[in-house]
Symmetry: C6
Amino acid sequence: MSESSDRVKTGIKGLDELIEGGLPRGYGFLLLGGPGTGKTTFGVQYLYKGITDHAENGMYVTFDEPPYSIIANSERYGWNVGDAEKQGKLAFVDVSPIKREAKPSTFVPPSLGQSFLGAEKFKISDVMAAIREVKNKVNAKRCVIDSISALTLQYKDDFEIRQQTLRMIKDLTEMDLTTIMLAENPEDRQDMTRFGPESFLAQGVIVLHMYRVEESNVKALEVRKMRGAKHTDRLCPYRITAEGIEVYPEETVFRSV
Amino acid sequence: MSESSDRVKTGIKGLDELIEGGLPRGYGFLLLGGPGTGKTTFGVQYLYKGITDHAENGMYVTFDEPPYSIIANSERYGWNVGDAEKQGKLAFVDVSPIKREAKPSTFVPPSLGQSFLGAEKFKISDVMAAIREVKNKVNAKRCVIDSISALTLQYKDDFEIRQQTLRMIKDLTEMDLTTIMLAENPEDRQDMTRFGPESFLAQGVIVLHMYRVEESNVKALEVRKMRGAKHTDRLCPYRITAEGIEVYPEETVFRSV
Amino acid sequence: MSESSDRVKTGIKGLDELIEGGLPRGYGFLLLGGPGTGKTTFGVQYLYKGITDHAENGMYVTFDEPPYSIIANSERYGWNVGDAEKQGKLAFVDVSPIKREAKPSTFVPPSLGQSFLGAEKFKISDVMAAIREVKNKVNAKRCVIDSISALTLQYKDDFEIRQQTLRMIKDLTEMDLTTIMLAENPEDRQDMTRFGPESFLAQGVIVLHMYRVEESNVKALEVRKMRGAKHTDRLCPYRITAEGIEVYPEETVFRSV
Amino acid sequence: MSESSDRVKTGIKGLDELIEGGLPRGYGFLLLGGPGTGKTTFGVQYLYKGITDHAENGMYVTFDEPPYSIIANSERYGWNVGDAEKQGKLAFVDVSPIKREAKPSTFVPPSLGQSFLGAEKFKISDVMAAIREVKNKVNAKRCVIDSISALTLQYKDDFEIRQQTLRMIKDLTEMDLTTIMLAENPEDRQDMTRFGPESFLAQGVIVLHMYRVEESNVKALEVRKMRGAKHTDRLCPYRITAEGIEVYPEETVFRSV
Amino acid sequence: MSESSDRVKTGIKGLDELIEGGLPRGYGFLLLGGPGTGKTTFGVQYLYKGITDHAENGMYVTFDEPPYSIIANSERYGWNVGDAEKQGKLAFVDVSPIKREAKPSTFVPPSLGQSFLGAEKFKISDVMAAIREVKNKVNAKRCVIDSISALTLQYKDDFEIRQQTLRMIKDLTEMDLTTIMLAENPEDRQDMTRFGPESFLAQGVIVLHMYRVEESNVKALEVRKMRGAKHTDRLCPYRITAEGIEVYPEETVFRSV
Amino acid sequence: MSESSDRVKTGIKGLDELIEGGLPRGYGFLLLGGPGTGKTTFGVQYLYKGITDHAENGMYVTFDEPPYSIIANSERYGWNVGDAEKQGKLAFVDVSPIKREAKPSTFVPPSLGQSFLGAEKFKISDVMAAIREVKNKVNAKRCVIDSISALTLQYKDDFEIRQQTLRMIKDLTEMDLTTIMLAENPEDRQDMTRFGPESFLAQGVIVLHMYRVEESNVKALEVRKMRGAKHTDRLCPYRITAEGIEVYPEETVFRSV
């Protein structure tokens, strides 16, 4: 097995070189960031570039934004996610709270039943069954969970949340998917990040920071943890450009440009 | 469909240019701010300018201030909200705790029944039914919820609050309304904003900051998140003028004027 | 109706000019401050000046300090509150925990029954009935609640406290009283104020700050929110003088005098 | 009634001049401070000087340190508390958890029964009965409660603690005692004091601060609130000398000596 | 009774002169510090020097580290604790969770039964009985409790913890032991110490601080409270040397050496 | 018994000289650090170097990352953990939530039964039985628990967590293993470390710090506590190199290199 086949290229310009060529294949990774840091864009870019540049199909599990909206928003980056979906290279598992009949959603696995966020009949086991079904259907190698934080809305106590998160990570790893799990960082403070249990269950943790410096917001990506990859210690500036997210490993965050 | 019809003009001077021409049509947006930052003014301006400048009718759902008071307060900005209401272009859904008979309130949908904030018979499903009814009556395209924070007074535990918020956002999105949800920011500290679950369920988050700088309060608007719109990173100063809220994208917050 | 009749003069020297001439008539306002900031003095001054300068009678609802003590303490400012009471221009609703027989208290409405703070038979509905009765008796236009924070001592959980506060504000507004509700600010920190639900249910919020600067305490008044009034953004110094509270809109807080 | 008879001289050198000649007679006052700030010394000095300099007898209610220990510790200031007790001018109500038989305690009112801190049969009503009994026995005008914080050890939830504190303050005020209630300030931080409900139920609040400045601890007294007395705003340095606590109104805290 | 017999020499070089010659005899004192500050060393030194220098026997009650380990670790300071134990001058009450049969523990009082930390049959009354028994056996004048914090592991709620602590302090004081109770300081921050209820139940509080200054940790001892002893206000540097803990009253903490 | 046999060499270059030659034999030590600080690498290096350089076998108990992943990740440091396992010198106890059949895991003790993290039949007593069994099988002298924090996911309340941690530390110490327990440090703040109960139950505490300095992350090791070893007070820089973790006792953290 070649070196490259052990690595999953992220499709995020400038990121792979920070982590020895890509994400270690077959594991779950956490992408942590506050509102507006570009987590969903990161997730779609990861899947779309996987299809177009690396011939690896993907699946997007959404507990929040409905698929039609994700597809529409992706167009601004020139990503034809809808086509990829029609070609069977990308699939959505739609667990979003928006009623499915209301707007054209692309695919709801029958196994999902009445499980969608906010429903009383929501069952994480239904979601996992749907993920398995969809994975096989499109032969997905990559997966995005958007988001672990939204999932917690469905549960009453911390213990149940931790247990469900644990089981989901467990199941995803066993399916040999290379998964990026999005998570909210609720505190908007420069000097602190809180890491929940998902951060030590994940094989890697990437943090998207957004600092207010005078009246600007400065964005910086930090590879906080990456098991099995020698990774940089540095905070790297990133921007959300017309081509998606770009990381600038050569620039500095606080005195750049 | 033209570019402009995908966008809902906010009616807030200086804001649309920050978000590629307006709010993405058909979604829910969060407006977060502390007391005195002008959230209600923002909401009324959004609806009133929608009617006068963009021929889009609107509805105002209030869990807090009664309609007659909102109407009276709007006069100082030269907005004849009462007339707009009489012309069937704007409607209120009055879920405020103030007894409805006490002062002339303009419209209470029959479906609302005994549901008003503070009542024991309060049911969010009644509120949603009233919203549907009123929406159809005035053919509303725009909606303001004032406020999500007041709504939480009615519930005992966090789980129930999260579930109700989730369902309300879900229902509003399915009605094809472009909704601005007001929310309190309980912390009055310069270096921190807390984002609750509503912030990641919303399509966009706009924060109204109020900083104390020596003995003055400085106001600044931040577009924290806006799915489907390339938006600015900068904090922009805003003021509450005799014509309503105005944002100054060209000025700086901390060393301006 | 003239402009002035829409406004209730506060009787606090220097304050009315900050809020377009006075408090908007018929609403509830929150006065937030820590121990020693002069909240009770503010409340008494508002009622007493209402009687002497604006011919508006008032009522003082106390959950804390007994009436005889409030009357005695007011003498230092030259306010003959006892006389005003005897003339039927000012009335107390005594819900204080101090036993009523112990010292001459001026008036306890029969409807109050066994409701006083700390009693097992305390009922907020009794208090509201007493307020209605006293309002009619003295034809009160102004009301002071001292304090919302003391009221919370009587309840076990946050939900009940929020509901009771909500109902009290609701009832007071429906009685057409212009009410100032005193509330404790438990944190004595320069950079933070916490605003509870009463702050967004109130029509306006005035904060009395007390900052420690070296070994002095500096006092400053902030009109944080005032619906229906264009109000200043600035922190204004105030002092507790021999004539009561005086606000100095022309002075600066941090480099003044 | 003369001016002086309305005031209770504190016996703390330098303090009375900060509060218009003494504590307003007949009320309860809170003395708030962290460990080592001299709260017990303050309390004993208040009672002892009352006896020796102002011919007013006193009573010390202790929930913490046993009387024999308080008596022994007072000797270092030259206060013969034991003699004052024998002469019937000062009495202890011993509710301390230390077993009463173990060492010579001076007086346990029969009404106290099995009520002492830590006992299962502890009843605050027994304590109040004992206070009444002892008050009458020595004709006490002054009272010290040491401490409200220790009392809270006996209760399970915040509500019960608040209710018991409320009732105790209520009862003490009705007995016409001028009472100083000691309370712990659990946070040892320069920029913050938390004020519990007892602070707004009390007629006055005096805070004993202890700041660490480099390797020294600087002590400063603040009269935070004093109903019915024009009091200083300034932080005043104090020291615990061989004659007890002395406040220095003319000195500055941070650049003094 | 001579002055010196009222004082218990601590055996900590440099400490007694800070507290008028030693700890007031017969009371309980709190020693508060974070991990690595030397609390156990302080406790052993107090007992061992009591035996060798002041002919006072002692007892060490351990809820954490087993006796054999404490004995072994003491050897590095040249203290032959094992010999002292064999000579009946020092005794351990072993309530540590480590199984007693596993390694040679020196003495387990029969009265202790199945009471050891972590056991379901743990009873604090058994521990107190064992302490009484051992005290009489070796005629102990000094006692160390290591630690109050470990004891809290055994209880479910804060109320129970406070009650048990209260009873233990009560019982120890009645046995005429001069006791040092070790307690963890969970926060490692320069600007804050939290004091629990044990701090105001104790006759004195000594805090061991550990500050990070650049890459070094600076240690400083503070006598925060000492009833019945005139004590210094200053923070004094201390070190853990080959002869045990030494305090340097003449040196300064932040600019010394 | 020679000096060296009392000490267990850590295998971490530069660390042993900070703690008098190694870890005191037979105790439990806590290794505390946030995500990405290299805790797992530290644990594997401790066991692997024990085998190759000191002829001491070891066991790795994992509640998180499955053994095959730990083995694969170790290869980057040139450590052939898989060979060591085949030679019976190192063994894994696999309590990770990943399904054991999914990928070749090396050894699951039969006594473990259905106990693995996330399973409903999880029993800590099964885990301890498996540890005993594996210890005897490979004659382990060293043990790593990865991690105490993951273990807490399985329990509902803090009391249960504390009790289970207490029992595990107790059992491990009685097996004469020299154990390093990994634990998450959830706060990523420069000025604070929180120490849980495990920190005072452990014989030593080593903290791996990760500070953000401008856009770099600086790593520093602190020996916070080490019973029975004179250890340094200084923060020492460390790096994760191609040969594993290296500590640099001679360098400074903040102005080095």
